[in-house]
Every structure is written in structure tokens, then in C-alpha cells.
Symmetry: C2
Subunit: 398 residues, 2 copies
């Protein structure tokens, strides 16, 4: 087993170590929640200041042209595209993941009008499933089927997350996509827990969505993204047909005419200040070699699993290749255990009913961090420090 000195040596040799300085992190904290909210990139404060004071303050409404606000949903989409295996003109940024899921699933249903089944996954992050339920309820006549039933032959669309938010279990995107499409259904991938954590390739899928506030560090509530495969762009309909998806928004026509290409999936006026923070984060990401990110991620999660050993029951797949960049454990008192850990400077999170999650953002988490986190966790468990009254269960809003 690795000792702390060996971990420090690995950190010194880490080809990604330069990126650690790109992020602001509090002293004396090991932040293992980058899979929920990514840390603040050092350059973001100045970029957002510029958006507020220089762009809005000086250009005023002229900022829509002069500062490029109007085109940012597409220019940021193009910059994000390589992170998911997509090309230019295939990704639009804006709104939330929930909204993007609604758009993607509704568009898929319109492309398969003869089918009346939506396959989702009850283990998906709940909003995915909730949005599907809302859409099916509005339309009537649709069955929402859990993926565990394994039948796609009458499905219009299948919505799955590449990496499970609870366990970190990872789907094999190409083979699942192929199987779904062979059954005549369209494939929508939710990339929230994979984008920025590994090499992602959705180029074979029909649609994909994801958020930018986890591994990508786009900021709290940063805009989501929506990928539309070029083969669908001419026919796919955006049922949330707002003016920014219109062919010519500034002719102010009474009738909706969709824009060519992925821009038709834009909806309302983009959230410029939130986009500015994402813009800064992408300045970092365009220099990041994703193969090295995945290699380091697998090394970090493997080290953590090895160090924690049998002290907890693993909820994640034991093989690194089958996981995202997180490790989860079951514990019936997961909430007070996590409170006790956080009190000692190791920040993970808790997901009801019984999951402890630890996310390892490879750009700013190192081997010594993993060592320290595991050592603290083992101490909390061994000494049962979580039985302290202060850690009594309450609603975990993270």
C-alpha cells in the first residue's frame, strides 16, 4: 500500500500538476465534491468582472454584438464539443440540464411518432426521470419504462446517464447506443457525471445533454449543453421554440421558423453572466489532455478503493475502467459519517438513503489528497466519531 511520501512523489511527477494552480481551493480542505460543484477556476473572477463592468456596464445593450453575447450559446458550444467527441455546430449551451432533457426527449418522440414508449432509468439522477414523466403526462398515451426491463424494440427513445450519479458505474456508450439504435429507438445520453472526468464520445448517439458545473467548473447553476447529431439537425424539432432558435430572431416575425443547425435548440435570452463563467472555465479545458485526465482519474479512484479496503462496502464497480471519477460506499449512517468527515476537512457528500460519495476531479485533486482523505475516513469509522450528537441527521442540501 502507498504511503504518503510515495503519494507526494506521484504528485510531483503528475503531468497534470500545472492545472492545480488554475483553481482556487480553501486551505486544509480535501475537496472531493467536484462531481457536484467544481472548484472555482482562478481566472473566472476576472472574466465575470469583465462581463459585468466592461461589457454590460460600458457596452450596455450593445454588448449583444460587441461582446458576442448573442453568439455565445454557439461559440461556447463549439468550444465544449471536443470534450464530448462532437464537432463544431453540434452543441448549443444554455438553460439547465432538466430543460435540455425535455428538449432532447421531445425531439426524439417527434422523430419516432409511431412509437409510444420512453425508456428511462429509475437510477438516473431524478430530474431526468421527472422531466420524462412531465412530458409523458402532458402528451398522454406514452409508457415510461424502466431500462431494467431491457426491451427497446417498441421504444421511441432511451435516456441513460453515462455515469451513474450514485454509484459512479459507467455505461459503455458505443455498445449501448448501438443496441438501442438497432432496435429502432433513438439514444439520448446524459453526460453530467462524465464530461470533464474522462474522454467522452457521443458522436454515434442521437442527442446528448449535460451540465457544466461539475467537473467542468462552470460555476453554480452554470448553463447546460445539448448535442444534436448532424443527421437529425434538419428534421429535429425544438418544442421549446423560443426566439433565439428562430431562423431570423431580429425580423420579429409572428410565425416560428426554426434556424438551420443546432441553433434551433436555443430557447430564450441566454444568461450572459453565467455564460461568462463557463467561458473562463473553457479557457482551462481547451489545454487539458483528456487521456491524461482519465488515466489519473482511474489511478486516484483505485488508490482510494485500495486504501479504504474493507472498512466500507463499495457501491461503485471495483474495476476502475467501469467507473467514472467517483467512488461511493454504502453506510446505513452515511449522513453522520459524512458530517464527521467534513468537520475534519474531507469534503464528500451524501446521497439518500445510504450512499457516501467521493468525487476526484483530476485537475486539482492529487495522490496525497487521496491518502489524507482515506486516512481520515478510516479514523472516523474506526473510532466511530460519527456517533457524535452534532452529526445528527438533517436534510442534506448539496
Amino acid at each position: 500500500m502507498l504511503d504518503r511520501d510515495r503519494c507526494l512523489a506521484l504528485d510531483a511527477d503528475d503531468p497534470l500538476r500545472e492545472f492545480r494552480d488554475e483553481f482556487v481551493l480553501p486551505e486544509d480542505v480535501v475537496y472531493l465534491v467536484g462531481n457536484s460543484l467544481g472548484a472555482l477556476p482562478r481566472r473566472t473572477a476576472e472574466r465575470v468582472r469583465r462581463a459585468v463592468e466592461d461589457e454590460w456596464g460600458r457596452e450596455l445593450v450593445g454588448g449583444w454584438n460587441a461582446a458576442g453575447w448573442y453568439t455565445q450559446p454557439l461559440t461556447l458550444g463549439d468550444r465544449l464539443a471536443p470534450l464530448i467527441g462532437a464537432g463544431p455546430g453540434q452543441v448549443v449551451v444554455g438553460n439547465s440540464t432538466s430543460i435540455a432533457i425535455y428538449q432532447a426527449v421531445a425531439a426524439a418522440l417527434r422523430l419516432r411518432p409511431e412509437r409510444r414508449v420512453i425508456v428511462s432509468d429509475v437510477r438516473n439522477f431524478p430530474t431526468d426521470h421527472y422531466m420524462v414523466q412531465g412530458l409523458a403526462g402532458l402528451l398522454g398515451g406514452y409508457e415510461v419504462r424502466d431500462v431494467a426491463e431491457g426491451r427497446f424494440d417498441d421504444a421511441a427513445v432511451v435516456l441513460l446517464a453515462e455515469v451513474d450519479y450514485r454509484t459512479g458505474a459507467r455505461h459503455d456508450v458505443p455498445s449501448v447506443t448501438e443496441r438501442v439504435q438497432a432496435a429502432g429507438a433513438l439514444m439520448v445520453w446524459d453526460l453530467c457525471h462524465s464530461v470533464g472526468a474522462m474522454e467522452v464520445d457521443v458522436s454515434g448517439a442521437d442527442f446528448a445533454v449535460g451540465c457544466t458545473y461539475k467537473y467542468l467548473s462552470g460555476g453554480p447553476g452554470a448553463p447546460a449543453f445539448l448535442y444534436v447529431n448532424p443527421r437529425h439537425q434538419a428534421a429535429a424539432e425544438n418544442v421549446l421554440s423560443g426566439w433565439h432558435g428562430h431562423a431570423e430572431p431580429f425580423t420579429f416575425e409572428a410565425g416560428y421558423r426554426p434556424a438551420e443547425g443546432v441553433r434551433r435548440f436555443a430557447v430564450g435570452t441566454p444568461h450572459v453572466l453565467s455564460l461568462a463563467a463557463l467561458d473562463a472555465a473553457l479557457d482551462v479545458w481547451e489545454r487539458v489532455p483528456m487521456d491524461l485526465v482519465r488515466a489519473k482519474s482511474m489511478a486516484l479512484t483505485s488508490l482510494f478503493v485500495e486504501l479504504v479496503g474493507d472498512a466500507l462496502e463499495l457501491a461503485s464497480p471495483p474495476e476502475a475502467a467501469a467507473r467514472g471519477s467517483q467512488v461511493s460506499y454504502y453506510h446505513p449512517d452515511g449522513y453522520p459519517v459524512m458530517r464527521a468527515l467534513i468537520e475534519r476537512g474531507v469534503h464528500g457528500d451524501f446521497r439518500a438513503p445510504d450512499i457516501l460519495r467521493f468525487g476526484f476531479a483530476p485537475l486539482y485533486i492529487g495522490y496525497a489528497d487521496v491518502h489524507d482523505a482515506a486516512a481520515t475516513l478510516l479514523e472516523v469509522l474506526e473510532k466511530e466519531l460519527w456517533r457524535d450528537e452534532r452529526h445528527a441527521r438533517r436534510l442534506a442540501v448539496t
Copy 2:
């Protein structure tokens, strides 16, 4: 007619003059586009900096609780409510106006399942009409009828803007609401061009939506708001049923259960940095006496109409009480006229095909500004300065 000295005296006596210093405005510009994008409040930069550096940077994911991010859609909604005649627990903030329109109209249709007509207004800002078209197209079997036909007796819902974005013409909200509801339809008001410009009272309406980036100065692409009358809150459905509208988002249940109250109309993760800018703007608005705003607004628009006289054909109602806080004129060469004006420091905007718009935000526009803007406009028209080659028509993205 008022001369400039008399205008300066009116500015000196203006009971709202203290608010001018709350805003950052460039030197040598008369900014009459606050009806499109409101000017930057002076306090906003620091509030946004705090959200980025102190809340996100230091609290990290803990900001959802520690910085109140999680509850901001409701707390900001409560702070905004008095500006539209609503009470606490009736307004939720987030997403865009386009999305809020979709939610309100869809909810209204679900409350009137026996009716199959949506009344909209082809003169509405186009996104209103586009979103209705998208919803009707998705559902099938609905007629989208223009309000000019005047028939509401078979309508499920009527969607109108209190103030017309092109002409500034103002509906009488109580009487229209009463007429619509007497016909058995539900009333949805779009307040984009009235909120912050006048006293608004939608307490009799069923739903209302609006943006916060115009008169309210919430920032470019600032979040929208959605008002739901308390009498509908138990039955109204949010078809965009995202996790933030769930009764208990952090139990991560597989099934959607709507929250009690207006929170069920929240959708995905809120755009925290954009909300921070709105938070700062509301610090200003909670001190603003709206009766004085409306009085000054009517005085400013009346003065502008008087000074411009017959030099242009008025597109707005001639009586101040029948207008919002903008004045519009027709001109077949409106685009080059506006370019020539902007070159001379008077910023209005142009709306295709032939409308010159001038918005008067009463918190930072004064009587001398109106005088100077009118004088410049008259000079541009009299000397035909807009015939200059530099002002040749191109796409106006404002």
C-alpha cells in the same frame, strides 16, 4: 415648450434623483434602451464578485445552504412580488421568459382540459407567440387564435403583454383580465415591458411572467419570473417538472411529487451568478416608490412627444396614461436614422420593419436627457444625417 434650463430645474427637483447615482452610465450617452437592457446598478459588481469569490470560491458546494443559493428562486421571487402586486409565496424566479410562458400556458391548458383554443397576440413580442406555437404543435388539436378576433368564450387561456414591445401601448390589466375570466378562460400576462416602469397589479390574473433585465436592471439574460395565483397553486401542474420543483428534491425519489406552493414551478438548478446580479438590483428596487416612477415616466414620455412634435409619425398612444415608459415612431428608414442618432450619443433602438424605440427608465433618465435626445433626433431628421453611407442597413441585434 420646455427649454434646457427648465429641464435642468426639473431634474434638480426630481424626488427620484438620488437613484441616478445607483447606476453606472457612460459619459456623453443618453441611454434610452433601458426597456431592452437596463443599465448596470453600481452595487452589482461587488455582489457578483461576492457570489464568485466568497460564495463559490470559499463555500464551494456548501454555498447551496450557506449562501442561500437553494432558496434564492423563492426569496428573490418574494422580493420582486410587490413590484407586480403579488404577495409572498406567489412568484418564483429562474429560467427565461420563454420558458416561463411555456410553463404558464401549459399549466392553464391543464386547468381547462375541455377547451382547445389558445388566444395570443401576433403583436406580442415574438417569443411569446413562438412558445405557444411550439406547445400547440406538440400537443396537437389546439387552435392558436389571434386576440384581434375578440372571441374568448371557447378559449382555455389568453396570453397578452401588458405593454406592447413595439408601440408601448398599454392594456388595462384589470378590465381585460375580468373580460377574459368572465368568458371562462385563464389570463396570463407578460409583464416584460411594464415591470419596473409603472405600478403593476396582476393579483387578479391567473398567471404572469416577465423578465428582469429591462427596467429592473437584473443584467443581460437575467432570470425571468413566474407568478401563480394562490387559487391555482394546489392544482396547477408544472409540465417542466424538474427536480427543484419536487416536494423533497434531496430524497432523490424516482417519482415526481410536486412541491406545495409556487416552488413547484422551479425546474432545474438555478443560475446562481445571474441570480446574484438580480439580488443586487432588487436592493435598489425595494426602496423605489413606484407611484413616483409612474408619474415621472409619464412626464418624460410626454415631454419627448411634445419636443419631437410632428417631425415623426408617432407609433405610441398619444396619451401618457395609455403608454408604458417608451415612445415609438414610424420611419421607413428607421435603421439608418437610429444609427445616426447612436453615433451622436443618443441610444435608442430599432425594431423591424420600421419602428424607432426610445425607452425612458425613470430611475436614471432625466428631463435634460429627454431634451438632448429630442434635439439630436430633430437635427438628424432635419439635416437628413441618416443618409450617410455609414448608416447603411444591416442586421440590428439589440
